[in-house]
């Protein structure tokens, strides 16, 4: 039995890296995930690539295209996770766009998630109002829909947080994913509003890339999510990225311990 999202938050602050599946190959994705676990990652977000990822900055957009050009399919990602499960029981979640899940078929998609031990999913283009699309089917297969709150959410935070599952994904900044030099959002107020509405852990993502930023974020949240900074290493080192990713994850996890 693989671990659940809640387990990721049991050993202090959680470090949550993101990786685009199939960039440069599914075989390498498997290797990257295992290396990240060894380096201290508490939960890994595996991105199923989409042709038109509207919430992503350039780094992850390009990773999605590289992966699709390499022939990655949703079925291939499920097979890779099934292989991965032979070597780890760490909690894993998917990150992808609704059309990928919708077109595959909600029942088939979430039943496959259950089979391979995916415990949650983040769908950035499915806001609170539209989660009726697949919430019940996902829950029926033990897959938690992770809700996002954004700097613009304001009074919506209470509504979203009080009805959330797994963890709250706190979007640190306006715009899309990608490395930022500075995060200016009033995250303290956002976290305060979340804490008033739920006991679920909250992790901050979007824009974080340095250990200093991660440390600062971990002081107010339960976890830190990092995507583009890792995907950049894959873009730069390709098949040889494993040691660089491991070293980076270690430095980030150490910063928030």
């Amino acid at each position: 039995m693989s671990k659940k999202i809640a387990d990721a938050f049991k050993n202090g602050k959680a470090f949550i890296p993101f990786i685009t599946a199939g960039d440069p190959s599914l075989e390498k994705t498997k290797e990257f995930v295992l290396a990240m676990e060894k380096a201290g990652a508490d939960l890994v977000e595996i991105g199923i690539p989409f042709s038109d990822p509207i919430a992503e900055g350039v780094v992850i957009q390009e990773a999605d295209l590289r992966s699709l050009e390499a022939g990655t399919t949703t079925d291939g990602v499920f097979e890779m996770v099934a292989e991965l499960r032979k070597e780890t029981d760490m909690p894993l979640v998917f990150m992808t766009y609704l059309n990928i899940v919708f077109y595959y078929g909600y029942e088939k998609f979430f039943s496959n998630c259950e089979k391979v031990g995916i415990s949650g999913i983040i769908i950035p283009d499915m806001p609170y109002e539209e989660k009726g699309e697949c919430e019940a089917i996902a829950a029926g297969h033990g897959v938690e829909l992770v809700s996002m709150v954004a700097p613009t959410s304001e009074e919506r935070i209470r509504m979203i947080a009080s009805d959330a599952h797994g963890f709250l994904y706190v979007v640190s900044s306006m715009g899309v994913t990608g490395v930022r030099a500075e995060i200016r959002t009033d995250l303290d107020s956002m976290l305060k509003a979340i804490r008033q509405a739920t006991d679920l852990p909250a992790a901050i993502g979007f824009g974080i890339n340095t250990p200093e930023q991660a440390k600062k974020m971990s002081e107010i949240a339960d976890g830190v999510i990092v995507g583009s900074a890792i995907v950049k290493l894959v873009a730069k080192y390709g098949e040889n990225a494993t040691p660089y990713i491991a070293e980076y994850v270690k430095s980030m996890k150490n910063a928030i311990r």
């Binding site: 989409f50 042709s51 900055g57 399919t73 949703t74 079925d75 950035p124 539209e130 699309e133 954004a150």
Partner: protein, 396 residues
């Protein structure tokens, strides 16, 4: 259970990142308020009349009618509007609304450049900052329109992500909007995207059928047998259809860009080849592969090469109220030349798709029936690419 808000049957909805949700809610509230505000309505009417040149003519195409030997052909002349297309109707409405909402900056996507030009035009008139997102390939194909937008004071972003065409321009405009909603309104150019856009754009374009219905009743004393319009996202078509929807005897026909044919991969005919999906904020029909990756689409017309269709069209198709037919590049180019020679009117290559289908339909109909073709835009912008299609190289 899906959220019933902003739905046309099962189509539509609000599939956007959380960052944009409050902005969409504010937009809906502002629109619901201003659409009934006498001052807003009067201002928009004045702009439509005295700036855009409305009402547009309903022109009886006598030579075309005689040549085809069937139903009487009328052209709804949206090509005579300021900026040369129906796009100005929506831009005047949305930019005025944005101004009332206190926004100081507008952004928009554009394919061929018509919506970008219309947005830049209204932004200049209403003193708004303006930035346009246009795919790099489209920028190269439509250099004149890029310069035209810059002339009007807009900044044009050449979008180099993805396949560098219209859908990528929409992606980039949405990303930009998610980064800056405070002072910025996204002037979506078609009846697509998340609620409330399909409704807002339809309402601003519905002036086409409101006028056309009155005009045809005045001229013919009865309703037309059919209304024909080209469909990409579907804004001129929904505008041309809207006030005829309750008139069950009026056939509503949307002409999709089949490109090199619906049995080839070089097509943009969404109703003919697309499947249900969720993209660009809406549930609708999309051209996509077996894993839901959005397809690259193709048409000679940069205004119709969009992989989706507005949710209200998907709905009208699903209930059988409107019918959608594919028209190939060849047929559209023939119609482009035909209308130019027969009536002395050079249509946009988009609108030529509608003219092409009318040429097939009219001869099979009787002389006491009439057809309205929505001539959504003028064809000056297409002259160079049609020449190229015919093997003539022209330096633009």
């Amino acid at each position: 259970m899906t959220n019933p808000k902003g739905r046309f049957g099962e189509f539509g909805g609000q599939y956007v990142p959380e960052t944009l949700m409050n902005e969409l809610i504010h937009l809906e509230q502002a629109y619901e308020h201003y659409k009934n505000d006498p001052e807003f309505v009067a201002e928009l009417d004045d702009l439509m009349k005295n700036y855009a040149g409305r009402p547009s003519l309903l022109y009886e195409a006598k030579k075309m009618t005689a040549d085809l030997g069937g139903a009487k052909i009328y052209l709804k002349r949206e090509d005579l509007n300021h900026t040369g297309a129906h796009k100005i109707n929506n831009c005047l409405g949305q930019v005025l609304l944005a101004k009332k909402m206190g926004k100081t900056r507008v952004i928009a996507e554009t394919g061929a450049g018509q919506h970008g030009v219309a947005t830049a035009t209204v932004a200049a008139l209403l003193d708004m900052e303006c930035e346009i997102f246009m795919g790099e390939l489209d920028c190269q194909r439509q250099k004149l329109n890029v310069y035209r937008m810059e002339l009007l004071g807009a900044k044009v972003h050449h979008v180099k992500s993805g396949s560098m065409v219209l859908k990528d321009a929409v992606n980039e405009a949405m990303r930009e909007w998610a980064g800056r909603v405070e002072d910025t309104h996204y002037v979506l150019g078609s009846v697509m995207g998340p609620h409330p856009f399909p409704t807002i754009v339809r309402d601003f374009q519905a002036v086409i059928s409101k006028e056309a219905r009155e005009q045809i009743l005045e001229k013919e004393g009865k309703l037309p047998a059919a209304v024909i319009a080209c469909v990409g996202g579907g804004s001129n078509a929904i505008g041309a259809f809207y006030h005829f929807i309750p008139d069950k005897e009026v056939r509503l026909i949307g002409c999709e860009a089949a490109g090199r044919g619906v049995d080839t991969s070089e097509t943009a005919a969404t109703i003919a080849t697309g499947k249900m999906g969720v993209f660009h904020g809406m549930k609708s029909l999309f051209c996509q592969n077996e894993y839901g990756q959005i397809d690259k689409v193709y048409s000679i017309s940069a205004g119709l090469d969009y992989p989706g269709i507005g949710p209200e069209h998907a709905y009208l198709n699903s209930i059988g109220r409107a019918q959608y037919v594919p028209v190939t590049d060849d047929e559209a180019v023939d119609a482009f030349e035909y209308l130019s020679r027969t009536e002395g009117i050079i249509p946009a290559v988009e609108s030529a798709h509608a003219v092409a289908y009318a040429r097939k339909l009219a001869p099979a109909m009787s002389r006491d029936q009439s057809i309205i073709i929505c001539l959504s835009g003028r064809g000056d912008k297409d002259v160079a690419s049609i020449a190229k299609y015919r093997g003539v190289e022209i330096d633009e």
